[in-house]
Amino acid sequence: MSAPVAAPRIYGLMAEFENPADLVRACRGAYEEGFRNMDAYTPFPVEAVWEALGVHKNRMPLIVLCGAVIGGCSGLLLEWWTAAVAYPLNIGGRPYFSLPAFIPITFEMTILFGVLSCVLGMLALNGLPMPYHPVFNVPRFALATRDRFFLCIEATDPKFDPDATRRFLERFAPRSVSEVEP
């Protein structure tokens, strides 16, 4: 009748916690157990959670530095090229390349490019906008933006096993453990 159903592939197992401290304990335990492909979901930033997941540094400062330097250089180059090369004007006998008068725009361009690279860099590194993500298939996940804390161990983790991982997560006394459909 129906085609033979393959073993149900899942995205991962998700445990729900009621407070951040329980989530941190679970994250730390899972990390020590050797799980790496996992993520925690919280309604507000909790530094201890990402520390427990082994996430420490990110590349945001470098991206912003590059953006700001590019912005500042391009601002100054624009002023030099237009005022001294393309369209030289004698304004009150000042030099064509009037560096002191060119500082404000150089500064503003530094900030503008720094801000744009910060916003776009953050969104790009986070993979946003993302129209679909499996975690939203868990009905209770809607509470992740209200007052609940989730840990999802993904099926791609080499140590993942549907039954053993579920038993492992239940050791941390979550409110529930649910399967995440892909």
Partner: protein, 462 residues
Amino acid sequence: MAETPTMEAQPGADRPPLIEPGHTFGSVTDHISSIVLTQPVSRGWLVGFAIAFSLTMMLFYSLGYLVLAGVGIWGENIPVGWAFDIINFVWWIGIGHAGTLISAILLLLRQEWRTSINRFAEAMTIFAVACAGIYPAMHVGRPWVDYWLFPYPNTMGVWPQFRSPLMWDVFAVSTYATTSILFWFIGLIPDLATLRDRSQNRFSRIVYGMLAMGWRGSARHWNRYETAYLLLAGLATPLVLSVHSVISFDFAIGIVPGWHSTIFPPYFVAGAIYAGFAMVLLIAIPLRWAYGLQDFITMRHLQNMCKVMMATGLIVFYGYIMEVFFGWYSGSTYEWYMTKNRAFGPYGFTYWALIFCNGLTPQIFWFSWARSSIACQFIVSIIVSIGMWLERFVIVVTSLHRDFVPSSWGMYYPTKWDWSTYIGTIGFFVTLIFLFIRVLPMISIFEMRTILPEAEVKEEHA
């Protein structure tokens, strides 16, 4: 998070709390999001919106007539070639600065009390910048070629003149507008996700869902998000100081007596923050009353804002005193005449009104009963807003109307179009505020969760 001392441990624990006790993650979320999602439109909102929207229509009518008839419908003419347009431009931009101060500088200084007020203060910034932008864009006379202000390769073969402070203004204000909008939007993303997950109807779920861009609160995302947010604050802090400095250069670079002064940048920045905090109070006091937000915007917030107003007010007052001193100490006939003319000339009453509004009125906040009285806070905020408007009037008009040669002296009187445009922008600003409080959470929900006691994670190294 862990090293942040609890509220009880801080000195002065008798002060009103940042957030009234008894709230949980859920109650904070539900209360703030319900204003947008479930509360019906109140009669007060409708009446207020109708009045503000009528004034907005008056603004559009005035601007439409301005485009048809030309800048001549305004009262400004030689020698006062800059008047209401620049006064109102500086006034509005200044008001906006408090929003950036609250969202960026107070964040870097770890002032947790900013959390309840930063969202609507940032919204106020954006709306104030929108109102400010109208003036220079219209004052150029041919607003349909405003894009000539930007450097772009064109068939005329000309480029902007970058030694001019007015070009610096273009870059400063457009960078400021862009940064404010992005900072605000980035701060909104987690709350938009909350609205997406909590809204009951399909249409709002789709709209908030698209705006939230699939935010799911992942710890890895939060890690980058927090870094990005701090970096944005770090970029916005020097920016906000530079914007009003650049605006003060519009005056200070000129040689007109009363403008050519090195004190202008710090004095303008302090004045901007002063006016901005007055406007934040003018918005916060009715909002917390109308939407029952007394638990989140407590007396502590209002009192802190009064203290910031008093501090910046003292800087501004010091600026006024130094201006008089400079006028005398410069030894320049024109500077000293300008100083005397400012106080005792035909516009002298505006100067004394300014001293009363900005110099004397906020001194009442030395008394704690004044800082604790909402009526007093509200009245002082109105007086300070008027005072900061008068400050720009005094700087612009009294300097220009009598400069060097008596044969070029003249008087300036605003016309009804000046007033209708100015009052119209106030209506436009209030209209935007009214729309904002109905469609977006006016208090940052996710940041409110972080200051709840239950958000604390006790460090236990297992």
